[in-house]
């Protein structure tokens, strides 16, 4: 220890006395030399000879000084500082190279960090809740369905069975969404009410920003009704007014006290307000609700273990509640995140793969540039080595340069990433991720991309030091690198890198191309209905009112006739679901037909205007008439798929179809729900835009009071411009009806159906373009370098009579070879890679020849364009000048 302190002390002293020490060393060596000369003279040499011999004996003075200096310094730190300073100077002296390398690295680091940060913050750690990583949901998946996912909500008895019979859960909470209609005195507003089991807030473990969360005491029968408000509603509707805490609000007709306001990140299923709702067996209210089931796994219980435990219970419960389970099902324990992001996970992974490729391209490019520079610096290295720089010094210095480059890339990459994260938000993907997720620059993600580039830079930055290892100092000093033989191995390395880059970029481009074609097809696809100029709104009725089908009918009859009378309204209808999603699933029977498996169809409850509003095409017979709707007649219009699937070759009109679900539903069952088919319409998408339609029936909405209702209004002007008129008409019929989820159908489609494919497409396109630009740069630098090396050869050829065309061809041939090889490898890679994105393609084969062909053409063109400039420069070679170089 003392020794080390003394050492450092002497080093500090020597630092201060550096000048004196240098002088003393000089003097000491001069003294030594003179003594040597004297001795040589004394032994009989002539003065000149003595001097010469002494010098030769003494050897390389610079090296000696260098070695001696190292003895009185803390070499490591001092050399490092010196190396960094020198490296910085070298980089500043080549601003073009430095800028390009830093920019390339920054692009790679920036995009990788952005995407990996997004994945970290969306998929791995989105929630602010306590132990959220242990929270799981149960999903009942219908194995006969082509779609992934399944039911993850349960009615109260089933919910409680799962909770009470399972052994793997520490605690279970339930959530069910419902309207919370707020009567402010001026009118009724609809809040999205989150009804939660009494233990929900302690389970989530987030403290309220103001006041308190919900406690189990709030659920006691004698407890006063209370609620907790979301930050977003507090900000949007109440201007962050803290004095509303403790006030009483009329929610669903009940005076309810606001006891707490949650912090912004407490989103919990996007509710505006949370209200406690006890779930007890035999409670009819709770039995009607569908509850989301969230459970915290006991510590140390793995998902598989939980799955096995729940599987047994599910098989048992399928016997108890046969209507709720498909014939063949599997039980899946999925993480809470997965229950929210579903398919979006795959999209994110695709993007991550793409960005990984981009990082590889960027790194290869920088490697390439460093190798090119290595060749240019052969002479410098040889000189430095010859005048006494040790191998470790050269390596250290090159490392320092690489490190500076990588750091520059990291800083710029951070800026890119910051901008990238802002840019991501523009893609409106917020509907697919947990609302709690906050995308921030993630340190681990940054370190990963930084690490990759530092390793690349360090590895390839060392190339110039290789020659000193080979001790090949004479060659570069003599020939200045114009011969054909030197640097051959490195040339091959660079070519391989370019081929690799071209291949990667082709993979990226074909991926982006496929997604683009898929997206275009999706947008061009005929949905079967016309979504333009349609205004939609859900109309929740106040609690306790409109409890019969007749009351609902009275409201809608008045409303629809008023709406139709509005100028600018073309058609209007009642509906229960908004396209492209069809309505209620039911088992059906066609009278007089027997079948072994269950027949499933959807049925829509609508008014006569439904068909003209959506502009559905009638194929056979007619659509619902006003009389039939008013009279709640049991007639039905069916879609084409229904006919194909259930009626075969028989004439559809007059067939009688029984909708079993209407008879069995607990809420106001319909007796003898047998409907006569009066017409057939063409298919319209009813399972989302990507899935082909399933059988669907359209029946008068007046036959039951069940289900929430909405309106769709076809307008001749932009739909939202009629919003105030529509609202006025609604309130003219009844002031207590709220309007919610107001939107145009087109906007809804954009946000929910097209946003996800668009997200993947946009990002893939950006990455593919950047990749292509980098590759063009890579090809350019290799070809330009080759031309520079071949200046003499070109000169000779031209002197011997080669024309411009010959020279251009000579250069292009080289580029074509590299690009061609890269394209070949890339095509193989594409075949492998595109299979990964197959599940995100729609209507396009992952080996679509047109797309792959176009991608090849683009890469090849970019490659050739990159060869063009060096080729042109080659033709400008002056044979005389080229030959005179040596």
């Amino acid at each position: 220890m003392m020794n080390t302190v003394g050492h450092i002390w002497r080093w500090l002293l020597s630092l201060m006395n550096r000048g004196r020490l240098e002088r003393e060393m000089e003097e000491e060596m001069r003294f030594h030399l003179e003594m040597q000369i004297e001795q040589n003279v004394a032994s009989g040499m002539a003065v000149e000879e003595a001097r010469y011999t002494a010098r030769r004996q003494f050897g390389n003075q610079t090296w000696l000084k260098e070695a001696s200096r190292e003895m009185w310094s803390l070499r490591f730190i001092e050399t490092l500082i010196q190396d960094l300073r020198y490296g910085a100077r070298m980089l500043i002296k080549n601003p073009g190279f430095t800028l390009l390398a830093v920019l390339t690295l920054a692009l790679g680091i920036g995009s990788t960090t952005t995407i990996f940060s997004a994945i970290q913050n969306i998929l791995l750690d989105p929630f602010p809740y306590k132990d959220a990583s242990r929270v799981v949901a149960i999903q009942i998946h219908d194995t006969s369905s082509s779609r992934p996912g399944g039911r993850s909500w349960f009615q109260a008895p089933e919910f409680l069975d799962y909770r009470d019979q399972s052994h793997v859960f520490e605690e279970v909470i339930g959530f069910t969404g419902d309207d919370a209609l707020y009567d402010s005195g001026d009118g009724v507003e609809r809040f999205f009410g989150g009804y939660v089991t009494p233990n929900a807030f302690s389970f989530l473990g987030v403290r309220a920003q103001l006041g308190r969360g919900i406690t189990p005491d709030d659920a006691r029968p004698s407890a006063p009704p209370v609620f907790v408000m979301a930050h977003k509603l507090w900000a949007k509707r109440f201007n962050l007014d803290p004095t509303i805490l403790g006030k009483t609000f009329t929610l669903n007709g009940t005076p309810t006290t606001l006891v707490g306001i949650m912090p912004p990140r407490f989103i919990f299923y996007d509710a505006d307000v949370w209200i406690v709702r006890a779930m007890e067996r035999g409670d009819s209210r709770a039995n009607r609700d569908y509850w989301i089931f969230l459970a915290k796994l006991k510590r140390g219980v793995a998902a598989q273990q939980a799955q096995a435990d729940i599987e047994v219970i599910a098989r048992r419960l399928a016997q108890v509640y046969p209507d709720s389970y498909p014939k063949n099902f599997s039980v899946q324990i999925i993480s809470w995140v997965d229950s929210l992001v579903r398919q979006f996970r795959k999209a994110l992974y695709t993007i991550a793969a793409a960005v990984g490729l981009l990082l590889l391209i960027a790194c290869s490019n920088v490697a390439n540039m460093l190798l090119a520079r290595a060749t240019a610096r052969e002479k410098e290295m040889a000189i430095r080595s010859a005048v006494g720089a040790g191998r470790m010094r050269l390596v250290g210095q090159l490392l320092a340069e690489s490190l500076l480059l990588a750091l520059g890339g990291a800083v710029a990459g951070c800026l890119f990433s910051y901008a990238g994260i802002k840019g991501l938000a523009l893609l409106r993907y917020d509907n697919f991720i947990p609302g709690e997720a906050q995308i921030r620059l993630n340190l681990a993600a940054l370190l990963f991309s930084l690490g990759t580039s530092v390793i690349t830079a360090a590895l390839f930055g060392l190339a110039p030091a290789l020659q000193t290892v080979r001790k090949d100092l004479v060659e570069p000093l003599k020939g200045a690198g114009l011969g054909a033989g030197a640097g051959f191995r490195r040339g091959r390395m660079r070519n391989a890198l370019v081929v690799f880059e071209v291949a990667l970029s082709l993979v990226l481009l074909s991926g982006a191309g496929l997604l683009m074609r898929s997206f275009v097809k999706l947008q061009q696809m005929d949905l079967g209905f016309n979504p333009e100029n349609i205004l939609i709104a859900r109309l929740p009725f106040p609690k306790g009112q409109y409890t019969t089908a007749a009351e609902k009918q009275r409201f809608y009859e008045q409303l629809l006739s008023r709406l139709r009378a509005l100028p600018g309204v073309v058609a209007a209808t009642e509906t229960i679901t908004i396209p492209p999603y069809g309505s209620i699933d039911s088992e059906i029977d066609v009278v007089g037909k027997t079948h072994n498996e269950k027949w499933q169809a959807m049925f829509q409850l609508c008014s006569e205007g439904y068909f003209s509003t959506l502009q559905l095409r009638t194929i056979l017979g007619r659509t619902l008439s006003e009389t039939e709707v008013h009279g709640a007649r049991k007639v039905a219009v069916v879609n084409q798929t229904f006919v194909n699937k259930f009626l075969g070759n028989e004439y559809p009109i007059g067939q009688k179809v029984k909708i079993n679900m209407l008879e069995s539903m607990p809420d106001s069952p319909v007796k003898d729900p047998i409907f006569e088919v009066i017409g057939v319409i063409s298919d319209a998408r009813n399972q989302g835009i990507q899935e082909s339609p399933i059988p669907e029936m359209f029946v008068p909405y007046t036959i039951t009071r069940a289900f929430g209702r909405a309106i769709m209004v076809r307008t001749s002007a932009p739909p939202l411009s009629l919003l105030n008129d529509v609202r006025r008409e609604i309130w003219a019929v009844d002031r207590s009806v709220a309007l919610t989820l107001i939107s145009s159908l087109e906007d809804l489609l954009k946000r929910y159906s097209y946003a996800e494919p668009r997200f993947t497409l946009v990002l893939m396109s950006v990455f593919a373009s950047v990749g292509l630009a980098l590759v063009a740069l890579g090809v350019f630098s290799v070809i330009a370098y080759t031309v520079a090396r071949q200046t003499r050869e070109i000169g000779i050829r031209m002197a011997l009579g080669a024309g411009h065309a010959d020279v251009v061809w000579m250069v292009l041939r080289r580029g074509l070879q590299l690009v061609g090889l890269g394209v070949g490898v890339g095509l193989l890679g594409s075949f492998a890679m595109t299979r990964v994105i197959a599940n995100q393609l729609w209507g396009v084969s992952p080996r679509d020849p047109l797309t792959l062909g176009a991608a090849v053409a683009v890469v090849a063109l970019a490659g050739l364009a990159a060869c063009y400039f060096p080729a042109r420069r080659a033709t400008k070679v002056d044979p005389m000048a080229a030959l005179r170089v040596e």
Partner: protein, 108 residues
Amino acid sequence: MTKVDILQGTLDMLVLKTLSHDPMHGFAIALRIRQLTDEVIQIGEGSLYPALYRMEQKGWIKAEWGVTENNRRAKYYKLTKAGRKQLEGEVASYGRLTDAIAKVLQAA
């Protein structure tokens, strides 16, 4: 690796031993060792001066400017206490090493 270690340690030991009686300058050290070993060991300047600076840095020797018999300014190196201790240690371990090597050679 072993070879280098032995050589380096040996050089230090020889230099320290040479300095154990009187202070000397670099040229004299090299000369003395050459003479004592009948020119078997010739220490090059490239090894000698870095070794001297290293040992000075470690505190085994101390440098002072002095004047030679011919009235020339020269840097004289002197053994310090720590240097003497170091020399003793090296001589002892060198003795053990040569003993050991001799035993092997005799056995063969």
